[in-house]
Symmetry: C3
Subunit: 351 residues, 3 copies
Amino acid sequence: MGTASLGELAVRFGCTLQGDPDTRVAHVATLERADPQALSFLANPRYRRYLAQTKAGAVVLDAASAAGCPVPALIAKDPYAVYARIAAVLYPTPPVIPGRHATAVVDPSAVIDPTAAIGPFAVIGARARIGARCTIGPACVLLDDVTIGADTRLVANITLCNSVVFGERCLVHPGVVIGADGFGLAPSDGEWLKVPQVGGVRIGNDVEIGASTTIDRGAIEDTVLEDGVKLDNQIQIGHNVRIGAHTAIAGCSGISGSTTIGARCMLGGMVGVAGHLTICDDVVVTGRSFVNNSIRKPGYYSGGIPADETTRFRKNAARFHRLDELARQVRRLTGGTPGSDDDADDDNKDA
Amino acid sequence: MGTASLGELAVRFGCTLQGDPDTRVAHVATLERADPQALSFLANPRYRRYLAQTKAGAVVLDAASAAGCPVPALIAKDPYAVYARIAAVLYPTPPVIPGRHATAVVDPSAVIDPTAAIGPFAVIGARARIGARCTIGPACVLLDDVTIGADTRLVANITLCNSVVFGERCLVHPGVVIGADGFGLAPSDGEWLKVPQVGGVRIGNDVEIGASTTIDRGAIEDTVLEDGVKLDNQIQIGHNVRIGAHTAIAGCSGISGSTTIGARCMLGGMVGVAGHLTICDDVVVTGRSFVNNSIRKPGYYSGGIPADETTRFRKNAARFHRLDELARQVRRLTGGTPGSDDDADDDNKDA
Amino acid sequence: MGTASLGELAVRFGCTLQGDPDTRVAHVATLERADPQALSFLANPRYRRYLAQTKAGAVVLDAASAAGCPVPALIAKDPYAVYARIAAVLYPTPPVIPGRHATAVVDPSAVIDPTAAIGPFAVIGARARIGARCTIGPACVLLDDVTIGADTRLVANITLCNSVVFGERCLVHPGVVIGADGFGLAPSDGEWLKVPQVGGVRIGNDVEIGASTTIDRGAIEDTVLEDGVKLDNQIQIGHNVRIGAHTAIAGCSGISGSTTIGARCMLGGMVGVAGHLTICDDVVVTGRSFVNNSIRKPGYYSGGIPADETTRFRKNAARFHRLDELARQVRRLTGGTPGSDDDADDDNKDA
């Protein structure tokens, strides 16, 4: 852990300093729990009520909040981003200590940069290429023909199947499985024939993949995550999916096979996207939505019906199951023609 | 496996015995498949139809069902709890056999109680503290500064990241990942900055965590599971979440970051809870609900719309997408004023 | 990788050949990207637009599409199944190389067929039985009393708990956990008692299980997957579930405890099925459905409400929360009797 003076931080990150430039901060804390050695921040208005009482050494906040800050302040246009940068100074990523743990099993044909670190019980298959300053953590299994770009870190207990390719500066959390076969099945006489999954997985630079997320290999061509994609935990990415640069997806979401998601999209938690769709750039899908049509226009999309008290919810859900009938009744009351009632069937058009 | 006489069991667990106290039972079985050495139970009325024909050695049931029981009965107010206690007698947890497998990699600074068992290919990092009679099963990876209280059992293939703290008597199933980074990202010029995740994870006593569940470390403060929390499989717990004592959550649920759930709550399967919410004590959320408002009153909450035949469902879903229009039509028919129509927008109030 | 002439393939798989029988194909490709050594196929009408320009060496397609094919064609009634069979010829599964990696930890009481392959850091518990030509990949953990039928392949990093039984020719992807305890809890004085989970898991022949799927052991009897079941990634199968032969379930679905699903069913992605239900044979449940009633009639069932633009969706969702009231208003307008309004409560009948 480092420490830093407010003066240094203000200069380095372009903040206006309100307070003593020699004050030093050594760690981060919430407004509510901060002590005088702590740096805190205010970005979410939910937490504004804690500002007046904070004991922090300094708070990163925007100009509008600065007047209400009882302690030194680093004033920035985007306090959360500045907080993230300062926290990275106070909590630097430990340097990679090069070397191969004695227990690691490495195929003789693997090419491992001497500055990389290979942990205990790692398995590295044939023809692997591991770049400079990579970390292959404990119990990671890399099957054959895997390529890992420089400065990428596999934390622990990660499985990369054959021919997975990673770019540089990626971070992969435990439990992740990349390159397992997609769910390719052809029906044949009441049984299922396996369709060989012969594509690979290509992952760009600066990608982060959360714990226990799974990314299937392509059926024929590759499954692709472009640069800067951020995936949370327990996400499932089907075969042949392509995710555009700097798109972020929250936990428990699932993207079905052959769907393409554009750049700079944001998907909330537990979003499900059906297969063979296209979502354009700059789309936000809020949590729990079910996307089963392509989205061709940037904007906000939603789909999760919020919970309610059980008795009330069940009454409404029962009515939902007769909604078409209800609409037809209303149509009759308003004198509409029965012929126009078939608008109940247009649910499958693209949004 | 043990055996026990009905007489012993009745005394030990406070049941009224109907039948011969010397009858012995040696294993458990369902009412339908039980043989005369089997103990069975009746708790769910769904299975009452199997009682009259059962061949069980004895059945645990409540007083109301006792008259219909053709074999010896252990009559209890809460038959399922008594069944659970008796099953634990018949199937005792095997004792922990102390020792460290020759293949385990243990940092010299780790302090491991001599009564603990460390399995093959376990990795135990710096400054770990492993309590009495713990089991660290095969292929578990504990990164640095992990603490495990007495009698806690990590079955196999579990990853605990830095600084995870477990209480006593916990049970953790394979595939679990605890302490991976939360999904903390700050937008900056169309890209994402990683927000360092510097909090930890603290888990109380008597907590059970199901297979492949993931629990993220806190962003600043800790993610906390209080005593007696029970999590099923494939659950995602976001950073800074706090779950109150004796709350149980069924499989595939996800709790977004910074949400607090009270004590003695029950969440069904595939429940999604949005971030930064508060759910009070004694709340039951039925399966498949989407909670996106805080819940401040104990009670039952629901949200999953049940499936229907596809043709019918699609017609109703299409109508749903025009429900606001339908309601406005009805309003006009009833002579309501258009001004009051903005009640369609109050969906975001707390429940 | 193999190569094959169109003549051989037409004879072997019963296709009508349109073109030169001596043309050879060496790999597979999509219509859009194929080169003259590639075999491609047309099964999904979405991709028909790429046929006219394809550079493939040959295309597998049906008779109706053959006229529009600019290159040699293998005409088949079911092009996708024929494609799957040919791809398996071009990309044969590598033969199993018998042997036990020096690092594997195998209990002396385990019986392992000499033709099986045991990878690095595999752990094989007491009394295991591993059949002919099995692969137990790197870092797989098999606790005690596991049985694996011939030709079954555990790719890597898979955990099988005690007493799991696999049939022949199964394929299991990384991250899978089978046989962890089911979520069996009995409430007792505001806390939870663990109900011992003493059943096993039995898996038939030709079953495929996707990455990070979890299958719990039975509470008393076994959890069962019959022959030919295909599970995608991140699926949760609760205790005592039984899944009939040749049923396929897409990713992120969850089946709650004690539910029975029939043969030849298809469940889409993110489907949730409540506990203690019965789904008959030949049922198709589309993606994102929530099944909370038994299904007793073969057919198509749906339940996911598609996403919409956020503003519009929220208005409709707000109306949903007052749908019962709306229906009562319409009832009054049509002159219906209030007594019949209690049809809002019949939501819990079996579908």
